[in-house]
């Protein structure tokens, strides 16, 4: 389905959509259906984003839907994407990682710069409106041993399973916090891994305060029950208010220590026990991926899960005119919400009234998302399971002790200063993995994503930019 921009690069499309996950895909096909000329760019090779991640056709999976809920919602939109692409209404550019978006001086159009394909070729597209549907990445809270091979992201394990049909090990402890853990445990177990236990740091009783939001979301309850059923069938136990506080092993993980947590997520002394395993899938919720948006100056707001999300109006507009956003960038809320928000944004960009059905769906699912986010917000005591020599920044190998020293002895008052003093967050991942942990150790709230480039860009691309651009 790969298509190249057929028009000259200077002819601006009506809309450029960054991200072909549920939000971006739904937005692109809806906008094209409303008559707009759309360019859809995605860093990945296939549409679907994180939720509808699926094996390449070459892997010959006869039932990719076995790994998904609501596959038909994806299949119908993918079919629409193919139809619009062959009719020339959508230019779909997979394997294009957009690293910056630049407004024309008169504000009438945008230029998006991307790195394309394995040979990292430069690519440029232009559009009169931009929709950022860049999704999220996982939040990781470090613990001793978390850099051992075999300790992997929970969503990462899910992504590798959905995309490559592979497992990290045969006995996998799933740990962290958030509803994604149940989905991950269910998939791993269905695919043949033994999952002795799901270790959840929050108490699910947190949901009890939000009964109305839950009752208005029977679909979500059913989804939870499906996961619950799969877990029961595969003999998976759920331990709430517990955490993996250490991973053991030399060349790879061999066991974990699991401890009970108090209300603030502090490990309770004397409750530690060891569970053998050959892999750990760990994640503490998701963090909206905002660097393109913050680079454009879009306003942000704090979410109840202690992450930062974009400030959006009822029609998915950011604070920057001409820039819309949908899905996880506006706060973590799941694939169904992302689909609805993508469609709302498309109507808005096309200047059409937003169907009431979409507005109701969004309101209902956003309420549910807020309830969940609050229930899984990390307690401050989690830093109690770090040792002085536990690497917090994986890229630059900066241990907790050095970060504490920067805060306590050198007077760093925020994550930025810690970064300058210790190099935590200055490596390849630009703080995506350690950002929330560094902020917690510095005693501050996480700051919005600010990275000059959203992925590594060959220097020659920067050199080739027209001189008058900022």
């Amino acid at each position: 389905m790969t298509t190249s921009p057929s028009d000259s690069p200077s002819a601006a499309a009506d809309l450029a959509v960054v991200g072909a996950g549920p939000a971006g895909l739904a937005a692109a096909v809806t906008a094209a259906g409303l008559g707009l000329r759309v360019i859809l760019l995605d860093a990945g090779e296939r549409p679907g984003g994180q939720y509808y991640r699926h094996p390449a056709p070459g892997l010959g999976a006869a039932r990719p839907e076995a790994l998904h809920h609501g596959w038909s919602a994806f299949a119908s939109r993918e079919a629409a994407l193919r139809a619009h692409a062959s009719a020339g209404r959508i230019t779909y550019l997979p394997y294009h990682h957009v690293w910056t978006v630049i407004p024309d001086p008169d504000g009438a159009a945008w230029t998006l710069h991307a790195v394309a394909g394995a040979d990292e070729a430069p690519a440029t597209v232009r559009a009169r409106a931009v929709l950022l549907a860049t999704g999220a990445y996982e939040r990781q809270l470090p613990f001793p041993g978390w850099t051992l091979p075999g300790v992997v992201g929970a969503g990462g394990a899910q992504a590798m399973l959905k995309g490559g049909l592979v497992l990290p090990g045969s006995r996998v402890v799933v740990a962290g916090s958030g509803p994604l853990l149940l989905a991950v445990a269910g998939s791993l177990a269905s695919a043949g891994a033994r999952v002795p236990v799901v270790v959840e740091a929050a108490a699910y009783s947190g949901y009890a305060h939000h009964v109305p939001a839950l009752l208005r979301n029977p679909g979500k309850l059913a989804e939870g029950a499906t996961y619950g059923g799969a877990l029961l069938r595969h003999g998976v136990r759920l331990l709430t208010r517990h955490a993996v506080t250490e991973a053991h092993g030399t060349d790879r993980v061999e066991a974990v220590t699991v401890a009970r947590l108090d209300r603030d997520w502090r490990p309770v002394p004397g409750t530690a026990r060891r569970i053998p395993c050959d892999a750990v899938a760990v994640g503490h919720g998701l963090v909206p991926q905002l660097e393109l948006a913050t680079g454009l100056g879009c306003a942000t707001r704090p979410s109840p899960d202690a992450t930062v999300a974009l400030e959006l109006d009822a029609e998915q507009r950011t604070s920057v005119p001409g820039v819309w956003s949908a899905g996880e960038t506006g706060g973590i809320g799941g694939a169904q919400l992302a689909l609805a928000e993508g469609e709302i944004a498309a109507h808005s960009v096309a200047g059409r009234p937003v169907p009431a059905r979409l507005v109701r769906t969004r309101t209902r699912l956003r309420a549910f998302a807020a309830a969940m986010a609050g229930a899984h917000r990390p307690g401050s005591g989690w830093t109690g399971w770090l040792r002085e020599d536990t690497d917090v920044c994986r890229c630059e190998e900066v241990p907790a002790g050095r970060i504490r020293e920067a805060v306590e002895d050198l007077g760093a008052r925020d994550a930025r200063t810690v970064k300058l003093l210790t190099r935590a967050g200055m490596g390849w991942c630009q703080g995506r993995m350690c950002g929330p942990a560094v902020a917690a150790l510095a005693g501050t709230d996480p700051a919005p994503d600010r990275r000059p480039l959203s992925c590594p860009v060959p220097l020659r691309h920067l050199a080739e930019l027209p001189a008058e651009l900022p």
């Binding site: 049909l165 269905s190 043949g192 993995m433």
Partner: protein, 111 residues
């Protein structure tokens, strides 16, 4: 449930059915590993039970795929002599030669 009552272990392939279009092999540090068209390099390595294919700059600690989606850069690997490729994103191709990446991947340049 005990191992015995569970019977043969399921595999991801059992779950989604079907058969791969093509199976060939990829060279990893001199070993031939089975690979299928459509797998990322990280998926090929995981299928072979290999979880680490890089060592860190400071402590030479082993690392492999962590985030699985291209954001952690822990899975960096040298593919056909080109260092710092994210194994979780790069599709494996017949004839690829993948080598463990040590440090920055530019050690040969002595920088």
């Amino acid at each position: 449930m005990s191992e015995a009552t569970r019977g043969r272990r399921r595999s991801p392939r059992d779950l989604v059915g079907g058969t791969p279009a093509e199976t060939w092999s990829l060279r990893f540090d001199g070993r031939e590993l089975p690979a299928q068209t459509g797998q990322s390099i990280a998926a090929v390595l995981w299928s072979a039970g290999i979880l680490a294919w890089r060592t860190t700059r400071d402590t030479a600690a082993p690392r492999g795929a962590f985030c699985g989606i291209g954001s952690c850069y822990d899975c960096l690997v040298t593919v056909n002599g080109r260092p710092n490729q994210r194994a979780c994103l790069v599709p494996a191709r017949p004839g690829d030669h993948v080598t463990t990446q040590e440090g920055t991947g530019h050690d040969d340049l002595a920088v």
